[in-house]
């Protein structure tokens, strides 16, 4: 299958603005050509995929996933996550370094590359840890890890709490043109109960995390970006105040980007209901006003990207009293349909919605993917943006099943996923 011919597809490429009915030819893992009426005659040896009018776009680039390998393979591993990614139309995922042991030295970056190649379904890249053991104290070998292939630096789910460490990380990473990503939440105001501060937390008797915890950390980080001239990315923005800090920083011309995750524009704190631990996230699900602000941030471009924030947890980590339960939800297999809700609800044009999960994250991490152009690696997703179905966690390829979206009616079905010119997922029959 060295040649794949897509016929009768709607070619949508956010990076170039292309949106036209046409055809696309893959040869030896690369996009050989694309455009309207490409084929006088389809090459005989090509595997033909008739899109029947579905959208063909770059495969998704998911800039924030937890793969749980090494260390917690009972929750997820490279193989199960890769299958989940392929089913979700994700061609590239970028793993957080907070594994056991954490990815805090070059050999571990190489481990990820090696394992990713061995599984070989989708492209897996990794961040390096900013501090040794993600303990927030000593800087890691940022330069050597970048040379080994790390695409950015973060302590993952841990906030870099010390302003001094953050200052040094921002200035030092600048040497290598690397971005520092932070989970922005003032730790002193954060409790492990994982609930937004407000009426629901009060009624449930859970200690809340005020929305200000996010803005306080972001405010600090903006000052440090200004001080150091470093490049900074805020992960999963969840509050109105947080969106406002980033918006103001961008206006001031700081080198700052941010993302959010679908849960923060598709759900609010009421999803917790009666202690539903599947709705426990970090940062917590916020108020309806915050949710709207996240949507506004996506619409006006303050929020650059959407990441799935894939955080698999086994039952034992979730079937616990709320305060003790682990934080985080699955994301790989719901990233596309939940992002398309923004399109169906008229918050974003299709191009723009796709940009947030393809070219935008790729560009801000310097990845050579997320675009559909001649000569590019053939990472593609064919999907029907209108096809309705209900999310069904039992059908997920992920090893864990922790999703609050089970049963949610959505539109947007992945039909075919192609990575490096190979079909890795084909659901046209289902």
């Amino acid at each position: 299958m060295s040649r794949i011919a897509f016929t009768n597809v709607r070619l949508v490429d956010p990076a170039s603005g292309r949106d036209e009915t046409g055809e696309l030819l893959v040869v030896k893992g690369e996009i050989a050509d694309l455009g309207p009426k490409l084929f006088d005659r389809i090459p005989d040896d090509a595997f033909v995929i008739d899109g029947k009018g579905a959208v063909l776009s770059p495969a998704l680039v998911d800039m924030r996933v937890q793969l749980r390998e090494p260390g917690e393979e009972h929750k997820e591993n490279f193989e199960t996550a890769s299958h989940a990614a392929a089913a979700g139309g994700v061609g590239t995922m970028v793993a957080l370094p907070n594994t056991r042991p954490p990815v805090d030295e070059p050999s571990l970056v190489e481990f990820v590359e090696r394992r990713a190649k061995a599984v070989g379904l989708v492209d897996i890249r990794t961040y390096g840890a900013v501090t040794k053991g993600v303990a927030g104290k000593e800087l890691t070998e940022i330069g050597l890890m970048a040379a080994a292939g790390a695409v950015g630096f973060t302590d993952g789910t841990q906030t870099i709490a010390s302003a001094l460490v953050m200052r040094r990380a921002l200035s030092y990473a600048k040497t290598f043109g690397q971005v520092i990503l932070n989970h922005a939440e003032e730790p002193a105001l954060t409790s492990d109960a994982g609930m937004n501060e407000g009426e629901i937390a009060t009624r449930l008797g859970l200690p809340g995390i005020p929305a200000a915890a996010e803005a306080i950390m972001l405010d600090r980080d903006m000052r440090l970006v200004e001080l150091t001239g470093g490049r900074y990315h805020a992960a999963h923005i969840s509050t109105r105040a947080g969106v406002e800090v980033i918006r103001a920083a961008k206006k001031r011309g700081l080198s700052v980007t941010c993302d959010t995750a679908p849960a923060y524009f598709a759900l609010n704190e009421t999803a917790v209901g009666d202690y539903r631990t599947f709705a426990k996230l970090s940062p917590p699900l916020r108020s309806e006003d915050d949710r709207r602000a996240v949507v506004e941030g996506l619409t006006d471009g303050t929020i650059d990207a959407i990441a799935s924030d894939h955080a698999p947890h086994d039952q034992d980590s979730k079937r616990l009293p709320f305060a003790q339960a682990a934080s985080g939800i699955l994301g790989l297999e719901t990233l596309l349909p939940l992002t398309l809700e923004l399109f169906h609800n008229n918050h974003l044009k299709l191009q723009l919605a796709l940009q947030k999960i393809t070219s935008a994250p790729a560009a801000l991490l310097g990845l050579e993917t997320g675009r559909m152009a001649k000569g590019r690696r053939a990472d593609l997703v064919l999907f029907d943006p209108e096809r309705p179905y209900r999310i069904d966690v039992d059908s997920f390829r992920s090893k864990s099943k922790n999703s609050p979206f089970d049963g949610r009616p959505v539109e947007g079905k992945v039909l075919v996923t192609v990575t490096s010119g190979r079909v890795v997922h084909d659901a046209r029959g289902s």
């Binding site: 109960a193 501060e197 407000g198 009426e199 937390a201 009060t202 009624r203 449930l204 008797g205 859970l206 200690p207 809340g208 005020p210 009666d274 202690y275 034992d316 079937r319 616990l320 009293p321 709320f322 305060a323 003790q324």
Partner: protein, 302 residues
Amino acid sequence: MAPDEIVGLLDLAETYVDLNRGADKKASVLRGRTQINLFFEPSTRTQMSFELAGKRLGADVLNMAVASSSTKKGETLIDTAMTLNAMHPDVLIVRHHDSGAVKLLSEKVNCSVINAGDGTHEHPTQALLDALTIRRTKGKIGGLLVAICGDVLHSRVARSNIHLLNSLGARVRLIAPPTLLPSAADRLGVEIFTDMKKGLIGCDIVMMLRLQTERMQGSFVPSIREYFHFFGLDRQKLALAKPDAFIMHPGPMNRGVEIDSEVADDIDRSLIRQQVEMGVAVRMACLDVLSRNLPEAGRNAP
């Protein structure tokens, strides 16, 4: 619970008050039933009260001291529940240090479960016994002005009482420093005062809460001395409430912290001992009502 259900329970509890005051304190509605008291958090008075209630109704009562049991060996809450469930208890009385834990456990067992306090969430039988105490003393609950004072933030008693008193038509005031109030306390249908002297004016009932130092991480109040000065109930502050106002406390009391011994021990004003007495009666009423939903004797559950 709907107001008429609450009133029904209180009425039933009244009959048990009489029974408990008689010489023969034994009834038989729970004969043959097994009641397990599962306390993940130590408590003397609530556990005793439930034990006595169960025994007086004829149940076989077991106390499971969780501190010395398998949870220390790493067993999860759900495994503990499943294990106990396999022994076919009829009623589980559960106290747990995490909000929502009792609900989680109740979903996994097929017997009745009574919440004896979960984290900082709810303590329903305490609210019921407080209501019964108030009703017997004042003759009514509707229209009364009740002040709940002190550590509201960490108090499941306060949350349950606000809920219950509001549904029975009382007006509730919370009196505490802002650091001991939950962030959205104003959304609970109460008036909030941070000045105790103003808050107590016109109150019929002054309910004091224990300062829960064991739940506190970090500094909520700078010192006991300062706390007692501004938020401790003494004779001087009590004088601001109605002349016939009564004092309540869910216990155990920290004398000299939230309440002065002089008022706590004033038999004309303090209802603290009645609360303990009503506790047994209310819990008997709860067990009685729940037992009516249990499978009939002689017919085993599937």
